[in-house]
């Protein structure tokens, strides 16, 4: 009996020692790994990876991924790695809403990034608001988005309505006999394009430029050739095209080329900012030369953060600075701004993040970011860019960093 008790005692002590040793090893092991074993910060976003906005959506995804890669390479956020949870909305607003509901309720993401386009931001920011999430986005700058007056909305990019102002100022500064006398204003039926076109038309009309064509065409893909031919037939000296994507600009360009129509100024609200994808779609450099687009960023920006991002982008995806889609910078800026808010608030409490974003000035590859009460970036500067041969250059407003505007636009294909 004593022997049996002694054996039990030895076995018991051995088991206790082993357990203690194992526990110590386990504790030591987790301690030595430090932040590596912490759960990653999950960030959800819905992007248009297919559908009408797929070119922009995929560029946005590269921007988000490049930002996440850079953050993780630098040790992560709050000592935790960042993990993106991106869902495809096929460019459909309803699907985008479903995606954000799923990201919040099923995937339990910590933070949200916005989708592409004002069209999809408008319904999705309301989902984020319902659940108290800060909604930082880079492509929802239409007035209708800000009209929601939701306190969780933060657009890091340029508000779109007055984006053409530098060009209007440039035209007014031209000698009277050199200014375009007539203008055409075809626009897609889209919340991103219409405010810009209406603003430009109003301002130019006030300045004496006669509107000879002003029509809205359906946002869904359609036959553009006939509309473009009508614009060409108007013989307007200036075309302000309300476009949301490359195919629209490409279709108008192709029709203008075939109609031998040579406007002095051709500016499109979106499309020419998409780098190599745009040049390829319009049929080469000769058809891109002289075409303008308003925006807040380009690949040759002197912003230090931007130059670093451009170098990293080229190292990862190849190409040239001019070939980088502006969507990449808009998406990257979303990550930068959110990261600054998370770091400053030392946590993932979205209510604190919202407060911080409203109260502080931040920096991004697109420049400084300072939000007003409805989420517009008041610090963003409107620029106008122009394709000049193989280069995509900032030309307006005139001054430091801007190249000289090529006016009138060179003939197609030259």
């Amino acid at each position: 009996m004593r022997v049996r008790n002694a054996r039990f005692l030895v076995v018991g002590i051995t088991a206790a020692v082993l357990s203690a040793a194992l526990a110590a090893c386990s504790s030591s092991s987790s301690g030595s790994k430090g932040t590596a074993t912490k759960a990653p910060i999950l960030i959800g976003a819905s992007l248009s990876l297919t559908g009408g906005f797929s070119a922009d959506g995929q560029a946005f995804m590269r921007g988000y991924q490049l930002w996440a890669h850079d953050v993780n390479a630098a040790g992560g956020l709050l000592g935790r790695q960042v993990k993106l949870d991106i869902k495809n909305d096929a460019s459909q607003p309803n699907q985008a809403v479903t995606n954000y509901q799923s990201l919040i309720n099923v995937d339990h993401v910590n933070l949200l990034f916005g989708p592409f386009s004002s069209l999809l931001t408008l319904p999705t920011v309301q989902v984020a608001h319902r659940y108290g999430f800060a909604f930082v986005e880079g492509a929802g700058g239409a007035p209708s988005v800000f009209a929601t007056k939701l306190d969780n909305l933060f657009d890091v990019s340029l508000p779109v309505d007055a984006s053409t102002l530098p060009l209007i100022d440039y035209i007014n500064a031209l000698p009277v006999n050199q200014r375009p006398k007539t203008a055409a204003f075809p626009t897609s039926n889209d919340p991103f394009t219409q405010p810009q076109i209406q603003f430009a038309q109003h301002m130019l009309s006030t300045d004496g430029v006669k509107s000879v064509y002003s029509k809205v065409f359906p946002a869904e893909p359609t036959q553009y050739k006939g509309i473009a031919d009508q614009v060409a037939a108007s013989k307007a000296q200036m075309v302000v095209l309300g476009s949301v994507d490359v195919p629209t600009v490409a279709a108008f360009t192709q029709a203008f080329v075939q109609a031998h129509y040579q406007p002095k100024i051709f500016i499109a609200t979106a499309g020419p900012d998409q780098g190599a994808a745009y040049v390829k779609a319009v049929g080469g450099q000769g058809n891109a030369d002289g075409v303008m687009v308003p925006n807040a960023w380009y690949g040759g920006s002197l912003n230090t953060l931007s130059r670093k991002m451009v170098a990293e982008y080229i190292a990862k995806y190849g190409g040239t600075p001019s070939g980088i889609n502006a969507d990449v910078a808009e998406a990257y800026s979303v990550g930068e701004v959110m990261a600054q808010a998370v770091t400053a608030t030392k946590g993932l409490d979205n209510s604190k993040i919202i407060q911080y974003l409203h109260a502080n000035t931040m920096s991004s590859v697109q420049g400084p970011v300072k939000f007003d009460a409805v989420g517009q970036n008041l610090a963003a500067t409107a620029f106008v860019f122009q394709w000049q041969r193989a280069d995509f250059l900032q030309v307006l407003p005139p001054g430091s960093g801007s190249a000289t505007v090529v006016y009138p636009k060179p003939a197609w294909g030259k």
Binding site: T50, P218, E220, G226, Q230, A233, A250, Q254, A281, G413
Partner: protein, 294 residues
């Protein structure tokens, strides 16, 4: 008046391109009694084939048809053999819609994986450059549209010759009228079905090439195309090849004329016209009751 003439010219030339794409769809319906929802994405696939051949092998897209037409034909035969042939019974037509949709989704996914979403166009310097056009009655008409018109005429004439001047054409027509009776008199109905589906898909090679040369396209372009192609074959009369040509020109011309007045109404007016025509002629402009009753 100049704008009106320009709109009519755009309508006829653009309509021919749509007719080229719709011809295969209506042929497949006429013989197989199924609506090939995948026709739109097959046009886009054909456009990508022409694009890839011209970019990677520097093969002229028009010459490239020597490769793309047989490739699309074989693809059509495979789709019919693998997916459509197995559908039997009363639910066949409904199931074929689902199967064709699944095929479309697979092809779209593959195109996204291979080419991404960035829009591209097919370049043919002799057909799409600023100088490649004729000046008629005050407006310009690009050679690419003339090529499209010519290809549409050739494709539709070729299908007519096949249907009405060959033994195989008689087999197709017999199958169209009564597949059971055709089988009883010794026609290999399965073979007729596979070859017809192949021809219907092969036609998209030409349509896709012209579409890709006149539009920037990406894998998503198939959705807009299929809705237009379906409305064309319904207006022309399901199964009527010539009807598809007339309906396509009608559709695009109506849109172009309305564009002069208000572009946002163009599609509305077209579909209103479609409803009126179908109210007056339920089988479409050139549809036959026999085809619908099959």
């Amino acid at each position: 008046m100049a704008r009106f003439l320009q709109a009519v010219a755009d309508g006829i030339s653009g309509g021919a391109v749509y007719a080229l794409m719709a011809a295969g769809l209506t042929l497949i319906f006429g013989v197989l009694d199924i609506i090939n929802i995948a026709q739109g994405i097959l046009v886009v696939l054909a456009a990508y084939l022409s694009y890839a051949l011209s970019v990677h092998l520097q093969l002229d897209p028009l010459l490239g048809l020597v490769i793309t037409v047989p490739v699309m034909f074989v693809l059509g035969v495979i789709i019919q053999w693998a997916f459509i042939r197995r559908l039997r019974g009363r639910e066949r037509t409904a199931m074929s819609l689902l199967v064709c949709y699944a095929v479309a989704v697979i092809i779209e996914g593959a195109l996204y994986a291979e080419f991404g979403g960035t829009p591209v166009t097919i370049h043919m310097s002799y057909a799409t450059s600023p100088t490649a056009q004729v000046h008629v009655l005050g407006f310009y008409l690009g050679y690419i549209y003339l090529i499209g018109f010519g290809l549409a005429v050739v494709a539709i004439a070729g299908i007519y010759l096949l249907l009405y001047r060959t033994k195989f054409g008689r087999s197709i027509r017999a199958t169209t009228q009564d597949a059971v009776a055709a089988r009883l008199i010794g026609i290999n109905v399965d073979r007729v079905a596979a070859v017809t589906f192949g021809i219907g898909v092969a036609v998209t090679a030409a349509g896709g090439m012209v579409f890709g040369a006149t539009n920037a396209f990406n894998p998503d372009s198939g959705y807009d195309l299929i809705s237009r192609l379906l409305s064309i074959v319904i207006l022309g009369g399901l199964g009527s090849i010539g009807g598809a040509l007339v309906a396509a020109m009608f559709m695009v011309t109506v849109e172009e004329i309305v564009n002069i007045w208000q572009p946002t109404w163009a599609v509305v007016v077209y579909y209103a016209a479609l409803v009126i025509v179908l109210f007056l002629r339920p089988n479409g402009l050139f549809g036959k009751k026999a085809v619908r009753a099959q």
